[in-house]
Subunit: 417 residues, 2 copies
Amino acid sequence: MMVGSVARKTCVHGDRDLDVFMLFDPALPREDLEREGLALAWSIAQQYTDIIREKYAEHPYLNATIDGFDVDLVPCYQVKEATGIQSAVDRTPFHNRYISSRIGDFTDDVLLLKQFVKAGGVYGSDQMTEGFAGYLCELLVLHHGGFHNLLKAAAGWKPGMFIDIEQHAAKWFDEPLVVIDPVDPCRNVSASVSDTKLLEFIELCQGYLKSPSKWFFYRPPICILTEEEVSALLKGRESAFLAITLKTPPYIEDIVVPQLRKSLHTLVDLLKRHEFVVIRADTWMLEDRSMLLFELLVDTLPAVRFHAGPPVTAHVNAAKFIDKYIHSDIIFAGPFIRDGRYGVELPRRYRQASDLLSSNEVFGTALGKHVKHSMKDEFVVHSGLECWQPGFEPFISEFLQKSSPLVRIRRAEARTS
Amino acid sequence: MMVGSVARKTCVHGDRDLDVFMLFDPALPREDLEREGLALAWSIAQQYTDIIREKYAEHPYLNATIDGFDVDLVPCYQVKEATGIQSAVDRTPFHNRYISSRIGDFTDDVLLLKQFVKAGGVYGSDQMTEGFAGYLCELLVLHHGGFHNLLKAAAGWKPGMFIDIEQHAAKWFDEPLVVIDPVDPCRNVSASVSDTKLLEFIELCQGYLKSPSKWFFYRPPICILTEEEVSALLKGRESAFLAITLKTPPYIEDIVVPQLRKSLHTLVDLLKRHEFVVIRADTWMLEDRSMLLFELLVDTLPAVRFHAGPPVTAHVNAAKFIDKYIHSDIIFAGPFIRDGRYGVELPRRYRQASDLLSSNEVFGTALGKHVKHSMKDEFVVHSGLECWQPGFEPFISEFLQKSSPLVRIRRAEARTS
């Protein structure tokens, strides 16, 4: 069964993805499905090409390059009712049927919307962009009756927006945008849309309605900086840049990127716990290497740090704490009472943020599983201009020129008018 | 009428204060009371001494030095019922009568307790120490039936303790310790006792019951540091010390010290708003000069700072914000969306904490009235070792060796055993 935007004629120019779902009897055990399904996929793909990769999402599938198309061959179950869905891929044929039978004259509107969210930088079928996936675009166009009507509605959205086309929601969701899947009452189609991406989409809708231009459909090119420009920008900001680079774990973006994000957040927390103030942080994944980038207010802290102990009224622990420190040679001051607790001023273990990020403390945090595995193997901490690593130039350029999608568009208009 | 601890025979060694309250007819208007009362006080005091000062609390009074005693001559109203009280001083005769008629054999216990809280550094009839005043000590001894019984009870106290001897509380209080005034159901006698002072008192009670020593009654001497020692300590901590000194406003401690504290807190907030992290801060008042002392994690911040604007969904203000910054030359990056709002990265106005504290921004904060007046006249910002100003050596020495009262006592025991 052919599924996805090609099957539904809602693929936009530049899309060269083709999804072929191979439907098996649900009575077949999962392991047999994977083994037989993959074997069949291999035998089919090999008839057309030599460029074949086994990939892993929730389950293994084949990715082949055939006549310049990126073809996924995905074994899944042919379930009769959406309620019989066993894994994410089983759901796709239902989406296909739902959209195909209703899309009618709205295919052009879907194409417009997909181009609009792509150019605006809020498109994304994956976790990497936290954006608006193709199926979500199709549903929104269907629900609001076309591209322009959707934009007029969305310009007034606020986070907390709830859309339930089939009026059958069977669960509570608290994501910023909730669009209940018409074929699955327990699923939010826009679960991966972040608060910021939703607001960026709203901003784009408002901006387009106020004053449209071609830049809403042609992504303004990123201005890639030179090393000299980056050096000047870092000197100007006077903040401290640190980056961790690691080998990209051998899994698809949909799996690796959420883990990079999780790792980024847990390392930001680690830095904060050690009193380093993080101005901004972001992560990027390339084929071979991935980067966690941190901008700090300062990267060097004084020797003294406050260490909070037990509450004064927790008698046993309070007495232990005092015994431990009262005749200690290493303390600067204390024990004294602050905010209801005993505390002492001790020498700081990590005065340099780079020492902290290079230490074993990073493995005591909630790193993503595959990221942790890769970092256990090897990772590098870069400081200042060293963060300007090959391949990451577009990422760091965007980081340093960070602006909202509408601002990017308005600036492109100003440059070209 | 003689009032206070001398009248009640509960004054401790070293107390050389004598309060003489001059009782006037409540029918006399307030202005006449002040004028006639002060005139009478002057004529009495001049018969004994030349050392006479007019002072101002809630109302003016005379302070005279007579035979080495510090004598206050305080005009007030002779009201029949406590409910007729017009100002704080009118209440004192009622306290006097309440305690005198009940204290009986407990005078020694009160003396012990007052010496105990003085030596422990939690005594204080004023706002400066936020501690246990004489009248509070008397009530606690009366209520618990002696010094030792009080200590046994207080060792188990927690903040939120409530004592209402006459069972007549007519108001809700949320201070850490509430002891309803037996002569005024709307007054908390321990209103000025801070959370930390209460916990320090509890700590002292526990420590004394566990292992008493003479140091619970003889305040361990402060180790006053030399300039070389201070210099070494500051170098060791590697943090940043800043101090503001100003002329002490010409009012009594009870008025000036709360204003210094208020000013300290508002300036800590100012520093925080400008992203300076304050490790500790404290204030001290001398006869002529007062000091606000700040220890910062770092005193220099980078050029870049994040400036948060309006929520993205506040359309009008959001559009204004973007218009203001989109083609600005001064921004580092932005506008972009963060936490639901637009924001930009701008050059920081105050990169040095000392510049901030020297600027007019300090007068935009909620400084105490008299402190503000004095600072408008003149104030000096000191950095690092410059904070070691004449007269403030004991204050800064204690700041750098900060420890809880019990820790101070245990260390004194260790030194002398």
